[in-house]
Symmetry: D2
Subunit: 327 residues, 4 copies
Amino acid sequence: MNTFGYNFRVTTFGESHGPAVGCVIDGCPARLALCAADIQPLLDRRRPGASPLTSARDEADTVEILSGVFRGQTTGTPIALLVRNRDVHSADYEAIKEKFRPGHADFTYQAKYGIRDYRGGGRSSGRETVGRVAAGAVAMKYLAEKGIAVSGRIVAVHGKTTPEEIENEILAAKAAGDSVGGIAEITATGCPAGLGDPVFGKLDSCLAGAMMGIGAVKGVEIGDGFAVVGRFGSENNDGMTATGFASNHAGGILGGISSGQDIVVRIAVKPTPSIAQPQQTRDIHGNATEISVGGRHDPCIVSRILPVAEAMLALVLVDAMLGQEKY
Amino acid sequence: MNTFGYNFRVTTFGESHGPAVGCVIDGCPARLALCAADIQPLLDRRRPGASPLTSARDEADTVEILSGVFRGQTTGTPIALLVRNRDVHSADYEAIKEKFRPGHADFTYQAKYGIRDYRGGGRSSGRETVGRVAAGAVAMKYLAEKGIAVSGRIVAVHGKTTPEEIENEILAAKAAGDSVGGIAEITATGCPAGLGDPVFGKLDSCLAGAMMGIGAVKGVEIGDGFAVVGRFGSENNDGMTATGFASNHAGGILGGISSGQDIVVRIAVKPTPSIAQPQQTRDIHGNATEISVGGRHDPCIVSRILPVAEAMLALVLVDAMLGQEKY
Amino acid sequence: MNTFGYNFRVTTFGESHGPAVGCVIDGCPARLALCAADIQPLLDRRRPGASPLTSARDEADTVEILSGVFRGQTTGTPIALLVRNRDVHSADYEAIKEKFRPGHADFTYQAKYGIRDYRGGGRSSGRETVGRVAAGAVAMKYLAEKGIAVSGRIVAVHGKTTPEEIENEILAAKAAGDSVGGIAEITATGCPAGLGDPVFGKLDSCLAGAMMGIGAVKGVEIGDGFAVVGRFGSENNDGMTATGFASNHAGGILGGISSGQDIVVRIAVKPTPSIAQPQQTRDIHGNATEISVGGRHDPCIVSRILPVAEAMLALVLVDAMLGQEKY
Amino acid sequence: MNTFGYNFRVTTFGESHGPAVGCVIDGCPARLALCAADIQPLLDRRRPGASPLTSARDEADTVEILSGVFRGQTTGTPIALLVRNRDVHSADYEAIKEKFRPGHADFTYQAKYGIRDYRGGGRSSGRETVGRVAAGAVAMKYLAEKGIAVSGRIVAVHGKTTPEEIENEILAAKAAGDSVGGIAEITATGCPAGLGDPVFGKLDSCLAGAMMGIGAVKGVEIGDGFAVVGRFGSENNDGMTATGFASNHAGGILGGISSGQDIVVRIAVKPTPSIAQPQQTRDIHGNATEISVGGRHDPCIVSRILPVAEAMLALVLVDAMLGQEKY
């Protein structure tokens, strides 16, 4: 269950403090021009260490292509992408290794597997998304050749909407040993009509699953999302014209199939659960205790989730594109 | 892509005005007591014709078990469930067969397949959910043996929250040749900790995909959903006690794995797109035109989606339960 | 695990003495002309009751298309095919319901599921192949449009190779309360080069799995098969010419991908395990006992396996054809 | 399609002359003791350079565990295994890069993908099996804990059956610039009854697909295989006793489900297609030409296929074991 997609399949691997993270892409069409320089910029966007607003962990996140590319072109065989972990401070986690961090997956991984790599969250760390973003970059390269572009923006952070307000809100939360969440919106333009596979591979279903599968995401909307519940059908339907649509409340998807309009998805990102403030919790022996989460954490994860969400949208689209070929 | 699930796989088939709808369940454990009477009540809850608030289409929706059950017990082989379509008024659709109904899948099915069964929406009709609900009833039978119960409730319809207000709101919309949407909440109690498969088979990811794949759903929230974006991490984290959790903002899922708390999902349901009011649209020849959708339609689909959403939650849970056995 | 294929997915259901057998096909391209008359002839070829060489069970095996076809064309939605069981003599099995028939799946189904439908072998009956053959007929319709034809022939039965010798051999075995097996060969002509997905979806791998998954098959060969072990590489390699190949020892597949030559598969079919002669066995209580299998059985199953093997080859090819579209 | 298995999923990657080969294992149960030393011995058995009977390519094939193991135990997360390619002589292939080697996948890869990494066969090289063998070693570790052991033996090479005859036969072929094939047999002992998923995930179907998917394999037999076609049913059925079976003609599988007896598979391995003798072929421009394949090749591949076939049997069994948990 570490594989995403059906036609363009991405398997990610790796833990936060293990030797490496990465992915294997299976099903990428042959003869796509591809080199590391196509992948690195998206990895650079998600990497930590770049600003006081994000974690201080300093990772170069240099990607190596291990297979599937021959003289600058994909060959149709699996593309393995590798990123070594370098700046690992595992000692930060020794003090809390027996305590479950609230809002994290510590308790549930322990419940599921009976074992967990507690260093930096192990597999449940955001560091796992390196593999997703690397794969997403390959997907975007393919989509770009088809005229499809994916982009994302921050809608709001803790109620603030301008960059300056948002920055202040995050720094204030950080100073208080706390964290904040927000809303991001991801859009794809240039998508043809006809993508998506009813009834259980609907494009919106795939998108919702892809987005909700990003750590910290607690809500997903397609098009106008929850706002539709306050409307009449006569307001919410997108009328058609001779050449297109009169509006796009639907977010580019009807009956689970793309309509040719822009595809619009919004996600709710919770406040980072790692906070310095003391919290009530339990240890692995069943005793009530307190925890204050040290280490290097993002006081707000929204901006770093953006490239991940864009990557996931790209992966959903490339998968649907390739699945559509047979019709 | 008409199959849902990995360990408990449900394949649905059938069109609104074809001979039958139904499903095949593959992977149901053997020796589960099962008969048609276990399935019929849930089908009865979703069937039309029961109230002035719903479509006047009158279907008995009697289910027949074609395979997989021997002397009242499942055998581990595929369970095929069949429901014949009876009350089919295909003539209702002849007049609009060349027009794309706004808010429906008419245009996108045509774009994808180059052909569509326009009678009652064909495969994109809500009638397809008969198969889901039948399968969900089998899933619930299994879950009940494990102490897990699934239930749903209407949170609001077009801003109204009491049954009387909701009924009036729906009847008013119907009288105006219009429709309204709303919010429903589905809950599972009794779920053990440990369900869900990181990183791409997370329980919340599966739930979001399952819910967004129901026709008319435009938004999905787990736990507190979009409300989390207004909180600090210190407010949103669910502290742990020696025996459980101090709150359930997370909706019973952490890191994509169930925590043992109640699982809570909310969905935004759009106003039914079929409305009597005239709407601007296009025909299959590319001409702008008007349409007024006759036929027998629900002025509000929220109540009929409830059993479908419950079924989908049950399917996600049984799939995760069976997938968890190996750990 | 009752689903075959990846792009053209066939899920079969049904037991020998249950209400019905059939299948659901998911992923069939839209706009393929299809009606029951396309499917019935292949079903007629596999049905029992037609000759003294086969079982006396008399089934019309009339197929009903339940979904996925609109006005004579497929719509891209699931095609459900149903065949009712009619001539069921379940009483034949009451006498032996507690005994495991040697060479049959009685013991292993009991071991796996803790329950089994003992009437006519239940799910392990050859009757399950009705669904496969029906689906194979749809696959063949598609392949025919691409210029691909599938055919099969009996190579030998119990060492005999002419129809007259074979008939005598079978009747002699029947008279002795015994049974015989044989070898069949299935060929596809007109196949383009490029089908098959290395490294785990190789065309020969899929074919071998498909053929060995037919009941009673114990061996599979591609091309010259086991004969290659007596050759030098210089004898076995198929040299190439400017326009094709000088020979076809490989059976049309190189490196798991079709070469454009005829695809040739041979299968070893064991003697029918149901024989009237008394055999040593065990009952479900663990007691040693004897069994003589009555009921209506084929003294040789090779001829009835032919349409099944052809269907499986067709299913493998259509699946590979659709999977190839994206490259 | 570079993923094998359903519950214990192995994705291999890598080309013969690329930077690395390896695999990602997804679905391995947690808390299995595992370190590189568990994997290395099986890799050493398949590695080249060890004898005059095999290729002179000298690869240490040292495996690195990149993820999924924490302090000597698996964690339930993906296990990525990496082996760097070291002794790469790509120049050997420049001279023949435009010629299709008979008996190889050169032509078919070109036909399928429109591009191929011609260095050492690229992805179609036997070097890809490094990933399979590494994964197989993990599977064997798991199986050993359940009391299941997998082993293989050479039955014959070019008609010879003793090691001394076989060695002479191979050296003679090598001296003649030619090659020979043979038969290998793989056996699993200690397998419980009940493994395998009818009707399309039968254990023998999975085994046949797994074995035929190994390069150079042209035939697969389960149990007595093709020999059954010369027998009467009364000879071929394995009678049962109070505690077991009187014989094992079936090779441990009945109705696609393991019976608890030894599982026995035999494979026909073709003579290595790379031979020094000149052969008739075609180049990528469509001209008839001759080729003599230099480089470092095995004159007989049977012995090196043995650990691969054992690995594949182990992968099939562990997959079936994990799939069986739910019943």
